[in-house]
Assembly symmetry: C2
Homo-oligomer: 328 residues x 2
């Protein structure tokens, strides 16, 4: 299991027994969705869904809702499933673009079934996400999810456009993180809050919490790409560098090191050289700085929360902490 699992457990404990039930129901629903739409989805999409991961975004949906709603959580489970399906769809498509062989230690769809199958599988997961959420019959929820999935695609476009561009600014980097990662956490919070019956002001505040922890999540991910981490076992350090993805650690390190300032990512010959660049970035202290930015965002996320029950607040704080504790 990934290094984050204990944190998810702690959140579920803090949030109350109904979240444990919801997480179990979510797995059942995802398994149904994987089995219920043709043999090919069952094989490829099903593998993707079943491979799981942390189910962090569904957990955010559930915790953002607070108490169990009057419908017994039916609407919440659909919202959580929809968010996870969109997330899975983007992973499948990202793996196609990266021609990745492994994801979470298992063969990717593109590796096992080819580009065509993987592209169609991703499209199918997208479609099922909206079908699932539409069952809630709430226009504001569909809008929130489609805004997020638009952002994911725009973030991906931006990342590809900016690849190998050493002039990417911190501002532009953060904008990319907002699109690529934060938007879906934001939607997860919004969907949970709406299903939980929060008023419009609280929905907005919870959405802001989601956006900030999503940003912090991506920042830490980018730090982990340079520093290495247990949960990245099997993935070499510096994968982003080799892809030409400019991240905050690199931007900060370049401001402090003449060698790195002159670096052209295209000139990195192989993975071993990528790891040397990681060492050079680490030596500048840029990783600590990037972590501090992430911690600051988490603090802002917590500060922006509306008044909530003690149990819900505690669970949300644990989620926020887990996002930046992944290197521990």
């Amino acid at each position: 299991m990934s290094a984050v699992a204990p944190t998810v457990e702690a959140v579920v404990d803090a949030a109350g027994g109904h979240v444990r039930t919801l997480m179990a129901s979510l797995e059942e629903r995802l398994a149904e969705l994987a089995a219920g739409h043709g043999e090919l989805l069952a094989r490829h999409g099903g593998d993707t869904i079943a491979a799981g991961g942390k189910r962090l975004r569904p957990l955010v949906v559930f915790v953002a809702a607070g108490e169990l709603p009057d419908d017994g959580g039916l609407g919440l489970i659909r919202a959580a499933a929809a968010v996870e399906l969109v997330h899975s769809a983007t992973l499948v498509h990202d793996d196609v673009l990266d021609a990745a062989d492994l994801r979470r230690g298992r063969p990717t769809v593109v590796a096992s079934a080819g580009r065509a199958m993987a592209t169609a599988t991703g499209d199918l997961l997208f479609s099922r996400a909206f079908a699932e959420l539409a069952r809630n019959g709430r226009r504001d929820e569909v809008r929130a999810l489609s805004t997020a999935s638009t952002a994911l695609a725009r973030g991906e476009l931006l990342q590809r456009t900016d690849a190998f561009d050493m002039d990417v600014t911190v501002e532009r980097y953060l904008r990319r993180c907002e699109l690529k990662t934060a938007a879906l956490f934001e939607a997860a919070c919004e969907l949970g809050a709406r299903e939980g019956g929060a008023d419009e002001a609280s929905v907005g505040e919870l959405a802001g919490f989601g956006r900030r922890i999503g940003l912090a999540f991506q920042l830490l991910d980018d730090v982990l790409d340079v520093s290495g981490a247990p949960e990245r076992t099997g993935k070499r350090r510096g994968a982003d560098l080799l892809d030409g993805t400019i991240t905050l650690p690199l931007i900060l390190a370049r401001q402090r090191s003449g060698d790195l300032a002159g670096l052209d990512l295209r000139e990195i010959a192989d993975a071993a050289e990528g790891e040397s660049v990681c060492d050079a970035i680490e030596a500048t202290g840029a990783l600590e700085d990037a972590r501090r930015v992430a911690l600051e965002m988490v603090a802002e996320a917590r500060a922006a929360l509306p008044p909530l029950s003690t149990a819900q607040l505690r669970a949300l704080h644990l989620i926020a902490a887990g996002v930046v504790d992944r290197y521990a």
Copy 2:
């Protein structure tokens, strides 16, 4: 312009002045959507949307609605835009999978910007489709579109799985056509009918009309791949054969010709040899038979229509006729 344009004109004439206005408003809305979601969508998605094509599916949405609804057609325009966006998204992704250079005589997104950009552009168009339709606030409409877009992806998966499999049956071929093509025509009719205020029985009947003309549309497309047609200028005959796509003309021809029965599509060396196979298929009379199946479906489509105004019936009949008159 394509060979179908005169038919679209005839349909618009028959349906009444409000459809002409709706078609113009649709173009405006699509242009807005292309411009309003970031420079990268404006460039790549915008090109795709602007490149246009016949806008046959939006036309189906409008005609299925009948009279102009009380909202002045706002909901209809959103529905039509959503259907066209889903259609555009699948074209962009299909071009990625086929590594196609040209579509409608213009460079494809994948040709001009690469696979990564094209995959993300398709995802983005999908997302915007659901965002646009969600504005109507109708769960049944979102469900109809997500069912259709799921079908499109399943059809694409099925086509790739069955590629080069000479044992594909007529039944399996028709199932693929239903998923790949008919489902979106069905959704177009359903969305139009719902916005037009049709009762549930009529919605179902209009949806059935859409499904049947969609099937006929795909059948004719597959005939045109073998026979050649003006609207396919620039595309060589036999493209499906080279891709390993088994279509009705080939299935029928194999039943009549020992040479074709022994054919393995993998052994077709080049486009010239593909054209020879097209000639062999044509010589068996299979194209006439496939056309007859399509005509039969169009007749069934017309027969299944509910009672409607004379103008609406006339426009629907013209659409149905246009679907199979494309070789004329």
